[in-house]
Symmetry: C2
Subunit: 654 residues, 2 copies
């Protein structure tokens, strides 16, 4: 913090300031700081509301159109398929067909496995993959997302439902699952209707990375039950309970036949994944490996009758399409409240995942993705899902990536997948009787490994330590406590970061870059020099109640510290304090009061307050509050350069 300057430098700087001033006088001074005529209040409120809730200008297309066209556009807005469907052709269908078959092959074993995570019978996973993708294909705007049940939401749902009804074989458990799914859909729809989609932005990227990694490990640990063939397993999900459960079963609870099957196929699937990573063209090998494992292991158990030797098998999957479940949903009674609560959480998490996926691929292929339409599509598909025996569906990271790589063109690939799942439900489910649980565990473990993104964590550490802490908080919260706690920690840390930003904004001292008229942070530009008799401070934030007092105190502290240093180095002490207001986008009543206080304190110290470049809104408020008269209109300048030049000339004249 030492920027002492010798006498020579003082002279040179003074000289320069003068020359700046003389050149400035001709050009800069003709412009006064603009204070545009005050806007109409209604307009002001309208604009602010529009920008907050309708930042994407959803109604722009509708402008200046005849009523009939407006109707068509409106229907197309709800069902984008009517828009893009008109330019659909055979070559696109070829891509979609291949992609649809690929994700179907990946989806079927995953569906059966994920249903177990939600403590539901295997067919419910397949139900999700039949209804939801169909609805989405008609209403969604992403071209690459693959819809269905996903591991994290399944686990979350399983945990929260079991907290409420511990007997997961009871009918009430199933009913509560549908209730939660219904309200997850309602939540997603409500966010769209009230245009509150920006709320999901509050779950930061960092928090999501940590949360997903934690969830992946938790899910993988849960699979030790299936993989090791343990019968009596803990119902808790934290790592300590699970490891304790695993070790206490080591002597009599493990089944070696199960372990062999599980590890063999896990090794096979991971090997194909590794292969696909090395050679992107072989991605289909890894996409098909779960299905191959599924079929091979089922066949193997059927032949060897390993199920008689303690290898747990699926044993029964209900045949046929989804039955209606409209009457199963709790619309009253003691489970309504918890159904809503679980639904809201699951709906938000599902939406966050879907939007993250949608954005990623929309950005890669550069097509517009309408967040609001996504929410409507998600909401509708989950509401319909809840009426047709499906639980919460969303976009899957791994299957969407496969969908993309397999060359999908539109949401038609989801329709193809849906048809394949339908055929499976109607014809194939009896064949899955002998599928060992161990292979399902292997499929899940291999799938969730993709959720652990070490590179992203390293990047977080490099770029932003606070993000890293949020990430780790979410991660450890999930693995040591529970999914909900991890989520809570992540949100809390994210909020703390925002609050910190608005409570302790940065203020920096500016100096002049030699040979220019540019004033910059003296810590960033060590060759920037301070001006004698002046102190230039930039406030890097809107000035609100949450930081107004801090900013005032901090500016006074800068002044005190500078004066002490300048006295030591015999650099002329501060007589003029210039506050560079460019970054101050807004000021509220508390901010105005803080500036009044600052002005008064400075007056008592014999220091003059000058403002440089206040923005539109700040100028309006300076006028509205009459603070502009207190400070003096002639002390508000277009730029720091102008202020320095004007003072320079005054000092000379004296």
């Amino acid at each position: 913090m030492s920027h002492r300057v010798s006498d020579e430098v003082v002279e040179r700087v003074t000289e320069e300031t003068r020359s700046v001033h003389s050149s400035r006088r001709h050009d800069g001074m003709i412009h006064k700081v603009g204070a545009p005529p005050k806007q109409n209040l209604l307009n002001e409120i309208k604009e602010s509301v529009m920008e907050t809730f309708f930042a994407d200008k959803p109604l722009d297309h509708f402008k200046d159109q005849p009523a009939s066209r407006k109707f068509v556009l409106g229907v197309q807005a709800v069902f984008p398929i009517l828009d893009w469907g008109r330019s659909y052709n055979l070559s696109k269908f070829k891509g979609d067909l291949v992609a649809g078959l690929t994700i179907a092959s990946l989806s079927i074993p995953q569906d059966i496995a994920y249903a177990k995570l939600a403590n539901l019978q295997p067919q419910y996973g397949l139900y999700v993959s039949f209804v939801a993708p169909l609805v989405y294909a008609f209403m969604g705007s992403s071209r690459d997302i693959a819809i269905g049940p996903v591991s994290v939401v399944s686990l979350l749902l399983g945990t929260m439902l079991t907290d409420e009804i511990s007997d997961y074989k009871s009918h009430d458990y199933l009913r509560l699952a549908f209730t939660a799914t219904f309200f997850a859909g309602v939540t997603q729809m409500a966010l769209a209707v009230f245009r509150l989609g920006f709320l999901i932005d509050f779950l930061s990227h960092a928090a999501i990375v940590g949360f997903l990694a934690g969830a992946a490990i938790t899910i993988a640990l849960q699979q030790l039950k299936g993989l090791l063939g343990i019968k009596h397993f803990t119902t808790k999900t934290d790592i300590i309970s699970v490891m304790h459960s695993v070790w206490s079963n080591v002597h009599h609870g493990w089944n070696w036949q199960t372990i062999v099957i599980g590890l063999a196929f896990l090794a096979f699937i991971l090997a194909t994944k590794y292969l696909a990573k090395k050679n992107k063209k072989l991605f289909w090998v890894s996409a098909l490996s779960p299905l191959v494992s599924f079929i091979l292991s089922t066949f193997f158990v059927y032949i060897t009758r390993a199920d008689k030797k303690g290898v747990a098998i699926v044993s029964h999957i209900e045949k046929g399409v989804n039955p209606s479940s409209a009457k199963e949903i709790f619309f009253s009674g003691k489970y309504l409240g918890s159904g809503i609560q679980i639904g809201v959480i699951a709906g938000l998490i599902a939406l966050t995942e879907a939007v993250a996926i949608g954005r990623t691929f929309a950005s890669v292929k550069d097509y517009p993705l309408d967040g609001n339409k996504e929410m409507v599509a998600m909401g509708t598909m989950n509401i319909i899902g809840s009426l047709t025996s499906a639980y919460v569906a969303t976009g899957s990271f791994s299957r969407s990536a496969v969908n993309y790589m397999a060359g999908c063109q539109t949401a038609v690939s989801n329709i193809i997948m849906s048809i394949v799942v339908l055929l499976t439900l109607v014809f194939l489910t009896p064949l899955f009787k002998y599928t060992p649980n161990a292979v399902l565990a292997s499929i899940i473990i291999a799938a969730v490994m993709g959720l652990i993104n070490i590179d992203a964590v390293i990047l977080l550490w490099k770029i932003d330590k606070f993000d890293f802490v949020a990430c780790m908080g979410a991660f450890f919260g999930v693995i040591f406590k529970s999914v909900e706690i991890g989520l809570l920690i992540a949100v809390a840390i994210s909020f703390a970061k925002i609050l910190l930003q608005v409570t302790r904004p940065r203020t920096v001292v500016l100096g002049k870059l030699p040979g220019t008229k540019v004033y910059r942070n003296i810590f960033q530009y060590p060759n920037a020099t301070q001006i004698p008799r002046m102190l230039i401070i930039r406030v890097d934030s809107a000035i609100y109640f949450s930081n107004a007092n801090y900013i005032k105190d901090r500016i006074l502290r800068w002044l005190r510290e500078e004066d002490e240093q300048r006295k030591e180095s015999s650099f002329p002490t501060v007589e003029y304090l210039i506050v560079e207001m460019s970054p101050v986008t807004d000021i509220d009543t508390s901010g105005i009061h803080a500036f009044e206080d600052l002005h008064r304190s400075l007056q008592k110290r014999g220091v003059q307050l000058l403002l440089a470049n206040p923005g539109t809104i700040v100028m309006e408020k300076l006028y509205a509050s009459k603070l502009v008269k207190v400070i003096g209109e002639d002390r508000i300048f277009l730029s720091v350069g102008d202020a320095v030049a004007t003072i320079g000339s005054k000092v000379e004249e004296v």
Copy 2:
């Protein structure tokens, strides 16, 4: 939104840009955007923690001092009286004596009245005014604050305690009051110890204005019981219940003798207030009028024996100093939880009020006020208070103003007041037997009128509509529902404002002020002109997860809208997008990803992305994330002017 430009203007601007460029080349370009060597991680964290929690540098005095001196300074830090007491003299004492006597005369009737608000017996109000001011005088750092019970906290306490124990004559009620007081003190102390004092800044000025006005009206309405002599009054505080209670009692519940006494003295006190407002020198008339009313009305009732005609009187005040109440506090049992809860809320509100008062007067007289010492002093005085039969004390707006106007010099005026209250407790309380409740109601009504600050509300409306809404939310919440709900609404609105700021930051289009090298918001400066082929956008906020996507989308929308307009007016369309980063104080991982996406989208559109003046932290993160390589180091400029000049020269060369 139309800033079309004719061909001539295009040419002129192009010309100017070129000239800017040629002049710039000599000076501006020698400076590269500074990217200082990365700081040591520990240092970085340390600095950030220091700035957040120790912004006031409390240990600066201790630096480079011998151990013995450090000890003395440490003791002085806890007991500021040891510091300022050394320069105390007779002339200061004269001021303090007069001020102390004045606030004592105001305090005694108010104490008795406010105790009723808290549903406690009258002597408890006096107890508060004896112990707390003494403790504060030794430990506080404000010279003008007058300590004692205040109306809002008394009401808040009364409401919350009655919610818990509806029988306010029971001994448990009293014990819970002491328990809450104890934990109020602990809360205040904890905020100081953990340096979390900035939390009280989150209750915005606007919210406080509305909250106090609402509380004042609620308190005044409660006084209708005493003023109209109603015996059966509602225990609710909302305006509808109270008015209903008043009107349903109109035929048999009102007592005309009480009304006459009450209204006569209310008129008298208000008249003296009006007088004092007109002529500041007569402030003592208004300061003494409550005491005069108190004595006169007591004497009047004693002579006329109006109490036999239904005029309610105080009837009994316990004589003697505060008994110990250390054993009365609930440290376990079913009331501990609610005691802590009530204590935390009351402690925060009390602290907010005290800090607001302290800051106001410290700013008027320009002396430093140490927020942390204030919290320690408040915490200690309430903890000691709770052990000596006092309830929550804090600084009173009205009495502090009187203290200031009566010429107080130091906290000694609080000691004087405390002694007078002590003498009253020991000798005078029996004389208060015949004091009519109606006069207490009049004193309270007159006192709380000062909490309604219409001018401040008008100013809020003028300066910031959002502040106005927060103010009104708190106000209506208090009067139509309850004090707690009003408080909750105020905090919620304040938070919403902060969240809005970080979710929807402003982005503006910049243009060049003719004849200068300065680029400014084209809406604020209508004569600023855009540069052909370029679009300059300033982002007015740190780029965080909460706004990264919005900022990216908004920039792309600006680009789309501009291009449409330019096509219509045959102004060269955008090929270069310059993002002015000066106000971007920080960027997190989500922000980096958003810029990557932005860069990719722009590339697909054939538009080049350039950055102007990124700050220290942003540059560090651009390097850490390698984004600087994606964008290109040569596309990051010191200023918008430099960027424009460089592009200008490239365009010419082609």
